[in-house]
Each structure stands twice: as C-alpha cells, then as structure tokens.
Symmetry: C2
Subunit: 214 residues, 2 copies
C-alpha cells in the first residue's frame, strides 16, 4: 500500500485505515508500539494525520485494544455455540491450544499499560466484563438444561477466565509448548462445574492426564 495511498480519502475511510494500521502494529509489535510515528509509518501517512484523526494516543491505544479483544470474543462466541459442555471444550481448546500469542501479548501489555493510561484501563475493564458476561451466559445455559451444576456462576466465570489468562501469559515467556495445558485446564473446569472427569476435554484426545481420583 505505498504508491496508491498518495490519494486523499474521505474522513471515514482514512479513519478506518488508521485504525487498521494501529491494530496491525499492536498485533505484530505489541501495544507499546502503537505510537504516533509507528502507526503513521504502518499507514504510510504523516504522523500529524494520525494525531488529526484521534483525540490522543491514549485513546487510540485503548480503542485498538478494545477492537482486537472484542473481535476475539466474537470469534470464540461463534465457536462455542453448542450445548454447555461442548462449548466449554471448544473454549478451552481454542484459547489454550496455541497460536494466539499475539492477542495474549496485547492482553498482558494492556494490563501493564493500563496503570498509566486511564482510558486503556477502562477499556480493559469493559472487555473483561464482556468476556465474563459471555461465560456466565454459557454457564447459565448449562445450569438450565441440567448439564452443569454451578453454585456461583459469577465466581466460576471469573476463575476460568483468570486461569486461561494466566496460562496464556505463561506460555508467552516459556519456550516449549506444553501439551498438557488443555487437559489440565479441563480437569480444573470440570471440578468447578460439577462435570465428571473427561466431560470437557476427553482424556484420549488430550495428551497428558492428571492424577487419578478414585
């Protein structure tokens, strides 16, 4: 997109292009690389134009984060459409199966940068809440049709999300991929939603098994 971009675009289009460039930078180089000059270079545009189209860089960073994470939630929501145990299975396999390191890095950086960027912190809270609502709905669906037994869906949802985030953040730093991640997470989730062992991620599909429970 170097040559043809000399054209000048209608405001809405340019705005969208810059948002796209910011997202690309965030996923490739991290949220901290979403700078005036970084995004401008990605969009092949003068830095001042990026500033022109967003009230502040803090806002652009927050908006970029929200866009990336909301898209991920939509995707997962689509994959986890079946009945509750299958949906939990799809959720864990998708989020812990690897290949999402870019999004995980965005999450981790958002937590860190959020301490100094109030708008980003608000966006992080919003997105966490959105994920939480989605998972609570999943649990409620399971509780309604009797496939799950959950005393405190709110707390269980927070816990499952925290577990996933922590494991993914860990994978960001560790070198080797751990095949047992999905299986172990499945055992933990089963214990929290009153499902028998293997109901979420069947042991024969998982690579490593946890200890025996007689």
């Amino acid at each position: 997109m170097p040559s043809t971009d000399r054209r000048r675009l209608p405001a809405a289009e340019r705005r969208a292009q810059i948002a796209g460039a910011a997202r690309a930078v965030a996923l490739r180089d991290g949220l901290a690389a979403v700078t005036l000059r970084g995004v401008a270079a990605e969009a092949a545009v003068a830095p001042a134009l990026v500033a022109h189209y967003s009230p502040s860089m803090e806002a652009l960073v927050a908006e970029t984060f929200a866009g990336i994470v909301a898209a991920e939630l939509d995707e997962v929501r689509y994959l986890a459409g079946g009945d509750a145990p299958d949906a939990l299975d799809a959720l864990l396999r998708t989020l812990l199966g690897g290949g999402r390191e870019d999004v995980t890095a965005v999450w981790v950086e958002a937590w860190a940068l959020g301490r100094r960027n109030a708008e980003l912190a608000a966006a992080v809270r919003d997105q966490m809440d959105a994920w939480h609502v989605a998972l609570v709905e999943l649990l409620a669906r399971g509780a309604a049709d009797g496939s799950l037994t959950v005393a405190d869906p709110d707390a269980v949802a927070w816990h499952v999300l925290g577990m996933i985030d922590g494991l993914n953040a860990q994978a960001l730093v560790r070198w080797r991929q751990d095949d047992a991640r999905v299986a172990l997470a499945a055992r933990a989730v089963e214990a929290m939603v009153g499902l028998p062992r293997g109901a979420v991620a069947a042991p024969e599909r998982a690579t490593v098994d946890a200890g025996e429970t007689p």
Copy 2:
C-alpha cells in the same frame, strides 16, 4: 533520608542503597518507573551515580525484578513448610488472599517489558523456573508420603502457577475483592492432585462453595 545522605558511602553500601531505592520505586510506581532519574530521585542522588553503579538500566530493572520476586518466593517457601495438603493451603491463601497487588503488578509489567528487555526476559524465565521447582518439590513431597496423587507434577505445577498469576493479574484491574477466589482455586487444585473436596481450603473457612459433585 535527605540531609544525612550528603555523605559519601563505600561502594558496596551505595550499591545496596540504590538497589533498595529501585525496589521501592518498582513496588510503589511499577517496574516501568525504574528509570535513571526515578531511582536517583528516590535515593536522593545524582542520576549519573545510578548509571555509575549499574552497567545499564535494562540490567537494573532485571535485577530489581529478580530481587522482589525471589524475596516473595523465600517468604512463601517459609510459610509452606508443613505436609503437602497444608502447604498447598498456605500457598493459595497467601498468594490469593489479597494484599500483594504491588508484587503482582511487578510480575505483569515484567511480562510486558520482557518483550523489549532481553535481560529482564531472562530474569523472568529464571524466576518462573524457581517457583516451578519449589512447587514441584512440594508435590513430590506429597506424592512420596501418599497424601497427593500426581501423574505429571511438572505440568500440574505450571498449571497451578499460571492459575495463580492469572487470578492475581485479574484482581489488579477489578475493583472489588472476590471472596470466592481461594475456595475456587482450592477446588481446582484438589481436582488436579487427587485430593477430596475441601482438603486444601476447607469449605467452612472459605466464603463461597463451588457446585456439588455427587
């Protein structure tokens, strides 16, 4: 420490004072605030002196992180000295009980900054390994005396640590303290080490209970 610090100290002492100032800044304002000028101000010293005593700021940040986290590990190691189930109980209560937000923030920032600071990234891996070794030893102790049943101690240890980190990182952003955190984590851990429900954190001591498992 403004007036008396006009004195000049022997190298070792000054070095220790600067390390202490760096640690204080990291715990109060975050790892990202550990800058030449930030640490110098905290130690009431010229910025050049901080540079004089450390090869680079990247190194000082990495060293500060390692110091904080290693101290936490020592503390927890001391608290978790009993038999395995009790040790797990102490571990979860200590790390998830709240009041450690400063250290959690340091962890999260280290993950994020580690992507751009190779020395810090190495320190993060080292400390994660140290925590992992400590937890694997705890699990091995339990397996040896028959109080735990763990097929893959390595994987279970990574999982428990990831869960703790994720829940703590979450607590960093969420406003209210969730009373169910310890109890739910205990259920998850019990499921992974072959312990009956309530063996790690007794339900009557915990605030919220997870679903029933018949």
